[in-house]
Amino acid sequence: MNGLGGADGIATLVAAIATIVVLGGLLGERRVFGWSQHLFAGLVTGYLVLLAITEVIVPRIVVPLAEAPGDRIELWLAAGLVVSAAGAPWLPRLVSAVPISIAVGALAAFALGGAVIGTILPQVTATLVRPDVDVTTTVSMAAAVVVTGLVLIGFVHGAPRGRIVGGAASLGRWLMLGGIGGWLGYLLFSRLVLLVDRVSFLVGDWLGLGR
């Protein structure tokens, strides 16, 4: 074994057992794998509750309200709305929907505003303003336009088309397949890194081999 003692040793042992159980799913051992999923779900739920209490409710709501109750009217109002929505199901939906509506609306507004100001405008600007246009850039952009056009033609179904359009559509589909294949290759490599990491953990950190 790895020689780790105390809490580190126990944590490594638990992690090793969990890893073996999950890898056991490869061999068709679904029952223990199912238990590990339940264990994981329980741990995650407990962790989220703990996080909500220790890092959100207490420091951001309870403490400010306790320290200066008169200064945080907005916090009283928000807490009252949330508590009433969660704890009084007999309230009309118009009232109980207010906190959720505010949360969803605010998030949507931030996300939409950010997408326009942070992504669309700067990206359009960066695409339009190219002070260093050289032959390579021009060829790359032309190739991108051609490939995009061919892939789009590949999606044309049902419309009457001649030999040229049919050939272009076929080429577009093959280009798309090539792109997806390349991307899946990237993902395969990425996931292999994760699998090898788990095997390395079992062999090195747990069994202490090769160290």
């Binding site: 890898l23 490869l26 061999l27 068709g28 962790y47 989220l48 996080l51 220790t54 890092e55 959100v56 420091p59 951001r60 605010a106 998030l107 931030f110 996300a111 950010g114 997408a115 100001i117 942070g118 992504t119 700067p122 990206q123 600007t125 960066a126 990237y186 993902l187 395969l188 490599f189 990425s190 292999l192 890194v193 994760l194 699998l195 090898v196 990491d197 788990r198 095997v199 390395s200 079992l202 062999v203 090195g204 081999l209 090769g210």
Partner: protein
């Protein structure tokens, strides 16, 4: 019988082969690494003075964290070695859990290194990012587990991505609200199509997409006095990766043959008829 043997033996053989590959091979290395991403990162780091405050937005995905972990640890070791004042903030629960684990590890392995300040978990998704941006801009403070923190002296933002609130969210919510603080990102390769446009437009000063750029960066990094914080042996074993790739190709080939074989077998009958 054959099916059962294949179903049980093939995964066992694969795991055994991967274990053997892990034992006998060295870390994934790149014979001719593409220096562009690493050069961009080093240029950003070189432009910072010692003691610069660095904010690490730590929100990787638990599922893919193993892919970015060695690179993240190496970067933190390099930042600590350069005397940077590092703070960590998380906007997702799983990012918070991983950030705590990394802080514990750093304190355990390099107790004499400057402590990584814990800014905790800021709830609210995009709204939380706006709060952080306001703190960086100096118009407010961000609540931490131990009180509040001002972030107006931040000179570099490092985003460890993989989750919903990754580099794109930081670019969209934080960059428009602050002045000229470079943002660099470490992400798994699956996020590369999402972050590459931001790198090309200059909104992200550097992007290290693992495992490719991560391996190149780990080769080039200057870890200084806190090399223990880095994860020198944390990269994937090269031989194990090759074995895994060969197994995947063999598996896909077997599926292809199984699908094509009936068609090929049916063809002579069709021809005869």
């Amino acid at each position: 019988m054959n099916d059962r043997v294949t179903r049980f033996a093939a995964p066992l053989l694969l795991l055994a082969a991967l274990a053997a590959g892990v034992l006998v091979s060295s870390d994934l290395d790149i014979a001719d690494p593409d220096p562009e991403a690493v050069d961009e990162l080093q240029a950003v780091l070189s432009g910072l003075e010692d003691g610069t405050a660095v904010l690490v937005g730590f929100d990787p995905d638990v599922g893919t964290y193993a892919e970015v972990r060695p690179t993240v640890r190496t970067l933190i070791a390099e930042l600590a070695g350069r005397g940077m004042d590092i703070s960590m903030v998380s906007l997702t629960p799983e990012g918070r859990a991983l950030a705590l684990a990394e802080r514990d590890r750093a304190e355990r392995l390099a107790p004499d290194a400057p402590a990584v300040a814990d800014l905790g978990f800021v709830p609210g998704a995009e709204a939380a990012l706006v709060t952080v941006a306001s703190a960086i801009a100096g118009t407010s403070e961000v609540a931490t587990p131990t009180g509040t923190a001002a972030l107006d002296g931040i000179g570099l933002i490092v985003v460890v991505g993989g989750n919903d609130l990754g580099p794109r969210s930081w670019v969209e919510q934080v960059l428009p609200r602050i002045d000229a603080v470079p943002v660099i990102a470490i992400t798994p390769i699956s996020l590369l199509p999402e972050v590459e446009p931001y790198r090309q437009s200059g909104q992200l000063a550097a992007v290290i997409a693992t495992p490719r750029d991560g391996a190149a960066y780990r080769l080039a990094a200057d870890l200084g006095p806190y090399a223990d914080l880095g994860d020198a042996g944390g990269g994937p074993a090269a031989l194990a990766i090759v074995i895994g790739l060969l197994a995947a190709i063999a598996w896909l080939g077997e599926i292809l043959v199984r699908r094509i074989a009936p068609a090929l077998a049916a063809r002579p009958e069709r021809d005869r008829s």
